[in-house]
């Protein structure tokens, strides 16, 4: 009897075989089809698209650092050899930093393309909400395409999301075509976005600000005066209608605790979603990495009495200069400006200067910036002098904000000022893209 009992137990054990173990689902993911199906999904995806701007290849580091490092504002003093490669041209195409900038931008573009394609079919959106979300998505797409063009020239234009492997390789467009696409996206965005100021998010004036910049760039590229006029009018719109103002204290602009009336569009960081810009700029004595330092050339180019010098550069105990626009070493919650009002004045001034505009108007715009910086009015009184004056104000106003390289390239002064070959004013297309995109062509000289 015992035997049979044992045998039965044994046999019954044999029938336990779980096919249920095969039914599992991911806990931290959702299927792509179900992700954007209603208003909440759109909001989440849009948040995710802003998050893309916080990548290291974008505003958390390299959009800020590379603009000055590849030009003459910053020099490499740290331990990451790839930054040294960027400072010393030509940059090898396998450089991981430029690859990161490229990949992060297209990641963001893909995120918004997914939203744009799904928006028409979302059931529970009012027309205003739909327009607002569409505007934000188009703005981000435009911003990223423009960012890419500033370093790589004509790049592939992506206006469809990547949903599968069909048509995954796209050829480059020309620089003009990229500008045109950006302008189209921004014009639509400008109309759809509201004028409310939302913390860390785009509104109609953000679109105008970027439009002003793109028109200026297209004007410098093609020489079409109409573009200059449009740049001037867009910048003017932001200045007069935006409700922004030039903050009296320059230092206050870079204190994360102080909200900024000058901020048109900024990337917001907090303790959980932080950046390490302060660590990369700060001297080692103060717990930073000291990866890049202000150049002697930049420091010496400031005029006497310019408050911006002491607000941008400080010295450590060993008399080494370091950048102080980003100071939150422990929390990493420094804000990063994409657009602030000061830039609108300078865009307008540059557009006027290069299109033989009214001298007094140019001086007025420059002086708004200079006076805030504690300087007297500009002494430049002719077009060539004013062109130089605008460029200098840009350099001093926006040091360590990622502007210098594109300012020089746009005004076609990069090769002469930096002493490099003309062809190296474009970065190489990242090697990883060259090897996988069958339709990609490299930049000249690489």
């Amino acid at each position: 009897m015992k035997k049979i009992l044992y045998l039965l137990t044994a046999l019954s054990l044999s029938f336990i075989s779980c096919n249920k173990v095969l039914d599992v689902s991911p806990v931290d993911s959702v299927s792509a089809d179900a992700a954007i199906k209603d208003k909440v999904g759109v909001q989440r995806a849009l948040t995710g698209s802003y998050n893309a701007l916080q990548s290291v290849g974008l505003y958390s580091r390299n959009a800020i650092a590379i603009g000055d490092l590849s030009a003459d504002n910053l020099t490499w003093t740290g331990t990451m050899l790839e930054y040294g490669q960027i400072e010393n041209k030509p940059i090898p195409s396998e450089n991981s930093i430029i690859e990161g900038m490229w990949a992060a931008s297209y990641d963001g573009i893909n995120r918004v393309n997914n939203i744009l394609v799904k928006l028409p079919s979302i059931p529970d959106l009012t027309p205003e909400e739909s327009d607002a979300y569409e505007g934000e998505a188009l703005f981000i797409r435009a911003l990223l395409h423009y960012y890419l063009s500033g370093y790589f020239g004509g790049v592939p234009i992506r206006i469809q999301p990547t949903l599968d492997l069909s048509n995954i390789d796209i050829a480059r467009s020309t620089l003009t075509q990229v500008y045109d696409q950006v302008i189209t996206d921004l014009t639509a965005a400008k109309a759809k976005l509201p004028g409310d100021k939302l913390d860390g998010r785009a509104n109609t004036f953000s679109a105008s600000a970027l439009l002003a910049k793109v028109y200026l760039a297209k004007f410098q590229l093609t020489g079409e005066k109409a573009m200059a006029d449009l740049a001037i009018s867009e910048a003017g719109r932001v200045i007069t209608e935006g409700g922004y103002s030039i903050v009296p204290s320059f230092t206050g602009l870079f204190d994360p605790a102080t909200p900024s009336a000058e901020s048109i569009f900024e990337i917001v960081y907090d303790v959980q979603n932080y950046n390490r810009l302060a660590q990369y700029f700060y001297s080692r004595d103060l717990s930073g990495r000291y990866e890049f330092a202000p150049t002697t050339g930049l420091i010496q180019s400031f005029e006497v009495g310019d408050v911006r010098l002491n607000a941008s550069v400080a010295y450590d105990a060993k008399a080494r200069p370091y950048g102080i626009k980003y100071n939150d070493i422990s929390g990493g919650a420094d804000r990063v400006y994409v657009f602030r009002l000061a830039e609108m004045y300078l865009i307008r001034a540059e557009a006027l200067a290069y299109s033989d505009g009214d001298i007094t108007s140019i001086q007025a715009d420059i002086d708004v910036i200079r006076n805030r910086a504690g300087l007297e009015n500009t002494k430049a009184a002719d077009i060539p002098g004013l062109k130089i004056a605008v460029q200098n104000e840009c350099r001093h106003e926006f040091a360590f904000e990622g502007h210098r390289w594109s300012d020089l390239v746009r005004t076609k002064t990069a090769a002469s000022l930096l002493g490099i070959d003309e062809k190296y004013t474009l970065f190489p297309i990242p090697l990883a893209e060259m090897q996988t995109n069958s339709l990609m062509k490299p930049n000249d000289g690489y």
Partner: protein, 968 residues
């Protein structure tokens, strides 16, 4: 006429005289064991065709010459030759021929005799492991088994090693073999959440090798296919010690040793005077030897006590052990406490139940590894000697470009605690009619808690006003299997064995992670005191597998052996369409030593030819790789965000490897010389590869079955009993050579620039080749490095790179010689890896020359003015070139042991059965031209593609050990 007649008469006489000599002989042939008559026995006159067969009563009758010899033969019985000698009745008792099939070995789900194995199987038993001080499973196995390549990536205590068999079958999926303990697949790999970039904690370091009785290594498809989808990288079966039914054995093994970082391998770094000369400065007063500040002579010890006992119904094995290893870098250590009980009990003559449980607790004191700015070892190599450790006021000096490593060692808290429980219970019912039913259930439960705290006295902590991290990982694997086996032998001529089974596995993983900053002061270590929570997350993963398998073995007279295996695995990792994978295999072996023409050759004691072919699979990929996915966590401004992270691939399926091989087992002079040789060819098709996508698509890659890779090679193991007697000498030699080649990738697109040495995966080359610029030396005019312009276009661009090295070795070998003389035993074990290249990434920084790091003294001979001819440039650039590729071949005196076993009569007086004392040295010396700290190195732990790269990696230490083995 008369002559012819005479001849005829003589002839007739002659013939009749012969006839006159034949006598009738008869008798009965019986079986010696039970005295029953044996029909069918052949009775033959030796040297002639004449013969007969015994009848149903076992009797025979034959007319033979009285001086003839009769030969009695019957299958399975010993052949007997009996001279007639004029006798008329000859009765014979036939004795059974004992077929010596060698020892019994555990192979998947059953056991078999070693000589009947038709696949490729290796064994390592506990005697070969006992002198080795590294008490982790991969640590004891290194160099002991042909075809199993164990590379110790660094000297980190408890650190992860790479185990690969026959080259590893995959690029993206795991290359680690399946490890099965007592029939239960165990959890291996790293589950740490605090990134130590490269030097991860290995779950395997919690498994105690002291409890291991033997390893069985299953190498080819015929042996491994019964494990189906996890088998393509081979299977290592571990059997733990069980009690024994005869007597009680109590064993105490203890050892204590000292480890040092081999001084001759530390790079020759500049001292303060040389640094001043290099920099043109004159900083006096400090000359810090940073490496000395952070290293120490580190003790290691191992103690285990085990009891093995039982009676004819029950067997019991109990053990407890402690293993501790301090690291040669201060503040690193690994301590492990473990205990085990194994019980087997016969409830009924046919029914055995049993089980075992082991519990382990380990504590691992870690430091940040090679890939961060806060690792003590890299920082100690990089900080120039002019910086003091302490300031005048006693605080740590942080002026140098890198965080003070002494501060990190003394002040940071970095501990990982694990609790691991591994157990199984089983039931085995053995019917007399040949059926055996086994049901086995097991669980492997792994709990890891990581605790890190960087106080403000360290550079990293100062930045955040104290940084605390706490992570917990819980991993469990539940396994159940039911196997029915049938064994039948027809007169020992036709022998069958059939096996069928079902098993399932359920895997679960849960993790939590929290990071916080802003602590009140350095005494508060736990996050409960922190003011700001910087990151917090929790995660869950479940995985399952259901399998059906079967095996059929047939041998004819133990001579011709056929084995067929098949397994079907269903896994939760694949989509509905491709859920199940099928893995068949077959092998054939011919025991030539049983053939008469070989039996006659007395020198050959064993000769077996083997061949096998089969399919195995690999499921070591991400769990949801076929789905298009959005992930959460892409937050912005305190709002939750999602983003697309994976493109769908509905066709995703298993990787399959076709494995083929031939082998020969040869034993000479009564197995005094034994040789096992294998040659194999494995081809993995449908390799799961991350097919690189254009970055402008928004994705970097998609996982698809697109590649093909092959591994081919030879292995052989030679064991010889050279001398027997008072002076005994045995040699064991194993050798393996593997050639890996990637055959196909998507559109020929390579996977480029992985890791710090730029390993590539490309068609027609072995996996992980180094691609870089060709450095031609230093230009005497400018002092800059000169590179070869391969495409002649006048500038050095990425197109001027080519393959500059191969991290895969040409061959690996292990040689052990053991001598015994009157109670003394002496053995030495050499281990060699030959033909592999290493990318010495450390030299980019310490020999550039570069601006900030301390440099080696070779930089003193750098180029300084036009006309200088030297190999060190004026200033280094960062191009990855042949300048940093070095030959990593080495021959290491891995272990030398001298022991003495006390004479038995001396021991009897103190009631001991055996006592042995020994002294042992591990890693005594390494012969190599490699200039880095250790030629056995990889900063990226067990990465498949990033191989053979040194980047400030922790070297292995030299160990001297004394120990005692006592048996009661």
């Amino acid at each position: 006429m008369r002559k012819t007649t005479l001849l005829l008469l003589m002839f007739t006489f002659f013939i009749s005289s012969l006839w006159a000599q034949t006598i009738p002989v008869s008798g009965t042939v019986t079986s010696a064991t039970d005295n029953l008559p044996m029909p069918g026995v052949t009775v033959q006159v030796k040297g002639s065709q004449k013969g007969t067969i015994t009848d149903i009563n076992g009797t025979y009758k034959l007319d033979v010459a009285s001086n003839a010899t009769l030969v009695f033969t019957f299958i399975g019985m010993k052949l007997q030759e009996i001279p007639v000698d004029g006798r008329k009745t000859i009765n014979v008792g036939m004795e059974e021929e004992r077929v010596d099939l060698g020892e019994v070995v555990v192979v998947g789900y059953s056991t078999t005799s070693k000589k009947l194995i038709s696949g490729s199987v290796g064994t390592v038993n506990e005697n070969e492991l006992k002198n080795i001080p590294m008490r982790t499973i991969d640590g004891v196995l290194q160099g002991k088994a042909a075809g199993v390549s164990i590379v110790q990536n660094s000297g980190t205590p408890g650190g992860q090693n790479s185990i690969k068999m026959r080259g590893g079958s995959s690029i993206n999926a795991s290359n680690q073999p399946l490890i099965v303990i007592d029939g239960v697949p165990t959890i291996t790999g790293s589950f740490g959440q605090i990134g130590y970039s490269g030097q991860e904690i290995d779950a395997m370091s919690d498994l105690n090798p002291n409890d291991i009785e033997s390893f069985t290594i299953l190498k080819d498809a015929s042996a491994t296919a019964i494990y189906g989808s996890r088998a393509s990288n081979g299977v290592i079966l571990i059997t733990t010690k069980k009690g024994n039914t005869q007597k009680t054995n109590v064993n105490l093994n203890t050892s204590y040793g000292w480890q040092t970082m081999p001084a001759e391998r530390i790079p020759d770094l500049m001292n303060a005077a040389q640094w001043n000369e290099f920099k043109g400065t004159d900083i006096q007063g400090t000359d810090t030897d940073w490496m000395k500040e952070i290293t120490q002579v580190a003790p290691t010890s191992n103690t285990e006590l085990s009891v093995s006992s039982g009676n004819d119904k029950t067997r019991l094995f109990i053990s407890g052990s402690y293993y501790g290893q301090d690291g040669t870098v201060r503040a690193t250590s690994f301590d492990r406490y473990s205990g085990r009980i194994n019980v087997d009990h016969k409830l009924l003559p046919e029914l055995t139940i049993g089980g075992g449980v082991s519990m382990t607790y380990s504590k691992n004191n870690r430091v940040e590894g090679d890939q961060t700015l806060y690792g003590p070892l890299p920082n100690a190599l990089s900080i120039p000697a002019i910086y003091p450790v302490y300031n005048q006021d006693g605080t740590y000096n942080e002026d140098s470009p890198y965080a003070n490593p002494v501060a990190i060692i003394n002040e940071t808290v970095n501990v990982a605690y694990t609790n691991r429980n591994n157990g199984n219970i089983y039931l085995e019912y053995k019917c007399r009619n040949g059926f055996t039913f086994t049901s086995k259930w097991g669980a492997d439960i792994y709990n890891l808690r990581e605790h890190e705290y960087d106080p403000i006295t360290t550079a990293q902590g100062l930045k955040y006003n104290g940084l605390g991290i706490e992570g917990t990982s819980y991993v469990s694997n539940l396994v159940g299997s039911n196997v029915l086996q049938y064994v039948k032998s027809i007169d020992k001529v036709h022998n069958f064995e059939a096996l069928a089974g079902i098993s399932f596995e359920k895997y679960a993983r849960r993790t939590t992670y929290i990071e916080a900053t802003n602590f009140p002061n350095e005494d508060f270590q736990y996050i409960t005191s922190a003011a700001t929570i910087r990151a917090a997350s929790a995660y869950a993963l479940d995985r399952g597998m259901t399998s059906y398998f079967g095996q059929f073995k047939y041998n004819y007279m133990y001579k011709y052996i056929f084995t067929l295996t098949a397994r079907a695995d269903g896994s939760s990792k694949f989509g509905e369409n491709n859920r199940f994978g099928y893995f068949p295999a077959g092998s054939f072996a011919w025991r030539l030593s049983e053939e008469p023409f070989i039996k006659g050759v007395s020198a050959i004691s064993d000769l077996k030819l083997r061949s096998s072919i089969g399919f195995t699979g690999n499921d070591g990929i991400g769990d949801f790789a076929s789905l298009g996915l959005y992930d959460g966590g892409y937050n912005y401004n305190q709002q939750a965000g999602i983003a697309p992270t994976q493109l769908p691939n509905p066709d995703l399926k298993w990787e399959t490897t076709l494995q083929t091989g031939f082998g020969i087992d040869l034993g000479l002079f009564n197995d005094r010389i034994s040789l096992i040789a294998d040659v194999y060819y494995n081809r993995t098709s449908d390799l799961l590869l991350a097919r690189p996508l254009a970055l402008s698509s928004g994705f970097t890659n998609i996982t698809a079955n697109i590649g093909e890779m092959e591994n081919k090679g030879v292995e052989f193991v030679l064991n010889t009993d050279n001398l027997k007697g008072d002076l005994s000498w045995t040699t064991s030699f194993n050798f393996s050579a593997n050639r890996n080649k990637v055959i196909k990738m998507y559109n020929g697109q390579p996977i480029t620039d992985q890791g710090r040495g730029n390993n590539w995966v490309m068609e027609r080359e072995p996996i992980g080749v180094f691609v870089g610029y060709v450095c031609l030396g230093v230009d005497p005019t400018t002092g800059n490095l000169v590179y070869e312009d391969l495409n002649g276009d006048g500038s050095i661009t990425a197109d001027d790179r080519k393959i500059i090295g191969n991290p895969n070795p040409d061959f690996t070998l292990g040689l052990t010689n053991t001598f015994g003389y009157k109670g003394f035993d002496f053995s030495f074990f050499l281990h060699s890896i030959y033909g592999n290249d290493i990318f010495n990434g450390t030299r980019i920084y310490i020999e550039g020359p570069t601006d900030l790091d301390n440099q080696t003294t070779s930089v003193l001979r750098r180029w300084q003015k036009p006309g200088d001819v030297t190999d060190i440039p004026r200033i280094g650039d960062d191009l990855k070139s042949s300048r940093f590729i070095e030959n990593g071949s080495f021959l290491r005196i891995k272990n030398v042991t001298l022991g003495y076993t006390l004479p038995k009569d001396l021991l009897k007086r103190i009631y001991m059965k055996s006592a042995r004392i020994y002294v042992s040295g591990q890693n005594l010396y390494t012969f190599t031209t490699y200039s880095g700290m250790d030629p056995e190195v990889n900063y990226a732990s067990t990465d498949n593609i990033i191989m053979g790269t040194d980047f400030f990696t922790y070297p292995q230490s030299r160990i001297i050990l004394v120990g005692l083995n006592i048996g009661f």
